[in-house]
């Protein structure tokens, strides 16, 4: 289960996030956004989910099953097409 930033054990190690806005050193909005994004990616990296939305085991397994389902359906479709072709050629 992913931690939100606030719940993450490492959150307290970034004291600047806990500072009252008035106590924080003046930064441009771009700087603030850049730092926030980079910290967020560090945390997501610790959880091993950089760049991908985190899925539960159940959702991941479901996706694996759906991938197999897709291949089963594709094989059925191929079989139907090939059977028709064979019969047309034979006719």
């Amino acid at each position: 289960m992913a931690h939100t930033l606030e719940q993450h054990p490492g959150f307290d190690s970034y004291p600047e996030w806990n500072q009252h806005p008035e106590q924080q050193p003046a930064q441009s909005e771009t700087d603030i956004a850049r730092v926030a994004v980079s910290k967020a990616f560090e945390l997501r990296g610790e959880a091993g989910v950089i760049g991908t939305p985190e899925l539960s085991v159940e959702a991941r397994t479901s996706a694996e099953i759906r991938a197999i389902d897709e291949r089963v359906r594709s094989r059925r479709a191929t079989e139907l097409i090939e059977s028709q072709r064979t019969q047309q050629r034979a006719a």
Partner: protein, 135 residues
């Protein structure tokens, strides 16, 4: 003898056209193979396991008394494959998302189904077509 008969029939144009299977035909054939994935069924027990035309897997078991032919019991489990997980219901009731070992076993059964239906159903058809085309 069978070979001579088939050659003779072919020579005189008596070969009956092979019927083109429909999707339900294929699913029916697959379901019989799927039913063998769970070990040997006892006498009078018929199992089927298959992917329907949508996103659901079905496991059904029907038991009949081998001596009288009387139906003893029957149930159908549906596993609906949804993005958030796999929703199970038995005879249309008791919907629950499965987890743990049951989910893992379903995944293994589905993977085995893919392999076994290919080996036993589709590969022989492909081979037959290839041989016919080459002849």
């Amino acid at each position: 003898m069978a070979t001579f008969r088939s050659l003779f029939s072919k020579a005189v144009g008596l070969v009956a056209p092979v019927p083109v299977p429909t999707l339900p035909d294929l699913i029916d054939a697959e379901s019989k193979i799927g039913g063998t994935l769970f070990g040997e069924a006892g006498r009078g027990i018929q199992r089927r396991f298959f992917l329907d035309e949508g996103d659901s897997w079905f496991f059904s078991e029907t038991a009949t008394d081998p001596t009288t032919g009387r139906k003893l019991y029957s149930f159908t489990i549906r596993y609906e494959i949804l993005p958030q997980g796999v929703l199970k219901s038995v005879d249309g009731k008791g919907h629950v998302f499965i987890t743990g070992i049951e989910l893992e076993h379903l995944k293994q059964a589905v993977a085995l189904y893919e392999r076994k239906t290919d080996t036993e159903l589709y590969a022989p058809k492909r081979t037959k077509r290839t041989e016919s085309a080459a002849a």
